[in-house]
């Protein structure tokens, strides 16, 4: 028997792809996925997996920040490797004892200058160092320049390896900061392995929950732009300083909610 007849049975509703990024109209071989669609999925998953396991290049980020006269400190969470990081979220939320000592010594040294700093920035790998490599420096450098112009005082930027969001609470409180802002790699999606999240917390201290934070998510090329994310963060910072709080009580009024009335057209019933 010859295999001259093509095995792939295409789905003739390709035009529906204009309405969604979902993987529709993939076609089939028998009842199974055609080779190309199968391998495209494998590629997306491979990228997401690589992003999860990529080692955070804190030296490079640090060098890039030093180049624009920004000071940095590099710390490590209590999760010493990726394996324990993934299984023990509690360890990723606190500093290793060495890193805690380091920040405590810094504080001792500057004791005479006991005034609070306005903002401590933390850059943590989270679940995607790739997100940080792609986005963190480009986002933070113009942001800090702008904040300094408007008289915000800013602590040295802390780079945290194997960190989860809440590690910012301990760091912010050790640096005596009024507000901590954590830039962190989000859990990679199949089509977004390099998505960065931004979390802001007023009066950081260990033991706070997510209810105390404001979050700006999906910052990346193809997601929320740096300009838009900066705009929202600036708003949150100003409101937070003014009202001395953050989290559920501080709603992000800048968010243009999904317009509920747009796009209610539905080809399945509107005819």
């Amino acid at each position: 028997m010859s295999a001259a007849k093509p095995s792939i049975i295409p789905d003739n509703w390709q035009e529906l792809r204009q309405f969604t990024a979902a993987r529709i109209a993939l076609g089939r071989v028998g009842v199974s996925l055609p080779t190309n669609a199968m391998l495209e999925f494998q590629l997306a998953h491979a990228r997401a997996r690589d992003a999860v396991h990529l080692v955070f290049d804190a030296e490079k980020i640090s060098a890039q920040l030093h180049a624009v006269e920004l000071k940095t400190l590099t710390v490590q969470s209590a999760a010493l490797d990726r394996h324990s990081y993934l299984q023990r979220p509690d360890l990723g939320r606190k500093l290793s004892s060495e890193s805690r000592d380091l920040l405590e010594r810094k504080r001792e040294k500057h004791k005479e200058n006991s005034e609070q700093v306005d903002i401590a920035f933390v850059i943590a790998d989270g679940l995607s160092a790739l997100a940080i490599h792609h986005n963190a420096v480009e986002f933070i450098v113009p942001l800090i320049a702008q904040l300094q112009k408007t008289n915000w005082s800013i602590a040295p930027i802390v780079l945290a390896r194997q960190g989860r969001v809440a590690i910012g609470d301990e760091i912010g409180s050790l640096l005596n900061a009024k507000i901590v802002v954590v830039l962190i790699g989000e859990r990679p999606g199949l089509s977004s392995p390099d998505s960065m999240g931004i979390y802001m917390t007023w009066a950081p201290q260990s033991g706070l929950t997510d209810a105390a934070r404001n979050c700006i998510s999906n910052v990346r090329e193809g997601g929320l732009s740096f300009t838009e994310a900066s705009f929202r963060l600036n708003y949150l910072l100003s409101e937070s300083r003014l009202r001395k709080l953050s989290g559920v009580e501080l709603k992000d009024e800048t968010v243009t909610m999904v317009d509920l009335d747009s796009d209610t057209r539905n080809f399945l019933i509107d005819n």
Binding site: A22, G30, Q42, V258, N266, F267, I269
Partner: protein, 463 residues
């Protein structure tokens, strides 16, 4: 509280109470390590399993692992226990129970009659000393059927939830995924959307849209928008066309408090949905989701291992006669189920325990990108669940949920399982697929490459 012990050679292993014994006997998983309740060595785990095997089943009726006074789920379990049904197995130990379940005496009618005599803790205990093949073989013998507009759970059937999620709830985007799914034979368990927001007017819009699609094409299935139960009650009050009421549930009162629910709210929601009388051939109106680790995640596990917490959630589900119960097994992440091996076993445990307790048990065969799992692991779990007689699985375009950012089974995957294991969709839905000329009578081969006429008309409008 009774302490337990077991001697292996020269070593005496001690377990402080029933909770501790159950936790130490649990096959390894990261969530129990995170909670600090897991066995400290492989030998201690087996010693606990040996001690558990010698425990009379009646122990679970004399000792509560979460106090009766402080937990309404414990009260529900004890107050609704069917002692007459239990009398058949009341003389057995946990180890004897495993033997009996695997024996030819435990046939389909016997297991059906017994289910209300089994408590979640008994089911959890026996599952901990069962291997994968045991979990499959006994689950196969449990038959649970439910109905709303079609019949779910018949022998030789595998149903699917069509999950047409879209990150901004765009109507045309959702409709595109629904059409893709229907043309791949998906959606007989439910067409169920996870909305992007809990905004009530938006939720009602989605409910209305699903109702219009189901009515227009006369699809023998039901709809569900997976919003908080209190939202659904309010939607019903405002006249929305609600088929199924959704809620995530957990196995401790504290877990459910963290979800903002209790048994009264669930009862109220069920009564409201029943009053709408929208089911044509049955009145199972609830759709519940569960998953190992939810209690720990809410810091509400009370020292109980995650699998036992999970099975206690089934007592809640059972009380409200659901159409569907879905264990979302790999969604929670590697801190609870680390890798494919842990996810696979957990999915089979949940399915077995649910079926033993008389639930229409389905499974979201899924994983996140930070878990040590991939499509091969999902193929293994899907196949094993198909063999075990799983009631339903998810169906999503190309396995990629672009709203929830995780991977679950695709429309293609369900067709694979049906073809490999000779399974069909629900009979009413099968007949619809044939009538619409989507599939031939064997519900496997597509009739034609051309679009069925009514859908062709819908698409023509686009051009």
């Amino acid at each position: 509280m009774t302490a337990y012990s077991h001697t292996v050679g020269q070593l005496v292993y001690r377990f402080t109470d029933l909770r501790d014994l159950l936790a130490k006997a649990t096959p390894a998983r990261s969530g129990d390590v995170l909670a600090g309740v897991a066995a400290e060595s492989a030998e201690q785990r087996v010693a606990a399993q040996m001690a558990l095997a010698e425990l009379p089943l009646s122990t679970f009726l004399n000792e509560a692992i979460i106090p009766y006074e402080s937990d309404e789920i414990t009260r529900l379990i004890f107050d609704t226990h069917n002692t007459a049904a239990f009398s058949l197995i009341s003389h057995l130990t946990v180890g004897d129970f495993r033997n009996w379940l695997l024996s030819d005496d435990a046939d389909e009618p016997t297991l059906t009659a017994l289910s209300s005599g089994i408590t979640p803790e008994m089911a959890a205990a026996v599952s901990k000393i069962m291997r994968v093949q045991d979990l499959i073989l006994v689950a196969q013998k449990c038959r649970v059927t439910t109905a709303f507009r079609d019949t779910i759970g018949l022998k030789g059937r595998l149903s699917t939830r069509l999950q047409p999620n879209h990150p901004t709830d765009a109507a045309a985007g959702i409709a595109a995924s629904i059409l893709d799914g229907l043309l791949y034979g998906s959606g007989d368990a439910v067409i169920g959307i996870n909305p992007a927001t809990d905004n009530l007017p938006q939720v009602i819009k989605l409910m209305t849209m699903l109702d219009a699609i189901i009515s227009r094409y006369e699809i023998p299935t039901q709809s569900c928008v997976l919003t908080h139960v209190t939202n659904t009650i309010e939607a019903i009050n405002r006249g929305a066309p609600v088929d199924l009421v959704f809620q995530s549930i957990g196995g401790t009162q504290a877990t459910n408090t963290s979800f903002g629910i209790n048994l009264n709210v669930l009862a109220e929601a069920r009564a409201a949905a029943l009053a709408l009388k929208r089911g044509t051939i049955g009145d199972n109106v609830m759709y519940f989701e569960t998953g190992q680790g939810s209690s720990l995640s809410a810091n509400a596990h009370g020292g109980v291992d995650q699998q036992t917490c999970e099975v206690r959630a089934y007592a809640v589900a059972r009380h409200f006669k659901p159409l569907l119960v879905n264990t979302v097994v790999g969604f929670i992440g590697p801190e609870y189920l680390y890798d494919g091996k842990q996810i696979i076993r957990a999915g089979l445990e949940d399915h077995f325990c649910g079926k033993l307790l008389g639930l229409p048990m389905g499974c979201d065969v899924c994983y996140t990108n930070h878990a040590e799992a991939d499509q091969n692991d999902m193929d293994v779990l899907l196949t094993l669940l198909g063999v075990a007689g799983c009631t339903f699985v998810m169906g999503i375009p190309g396995s990629d949920d672009i709203m929830l950012n995780y991977q679950t089974t695709s429309f293609h995957d369900a067709l694979y399982a049906r073809r490999a294991l000779n399974l069909q969709p629900a009979p009413e839905f099968s007949a619809w697929l044939e009538r619409m000329q989507i599939f031939s009578a064997d519900s496997d081969t597509r009739v034609s490459e051309a679009l069925p006429h009514p859908f062709q008309r819908a698409l023509t409008n686009l051009l």
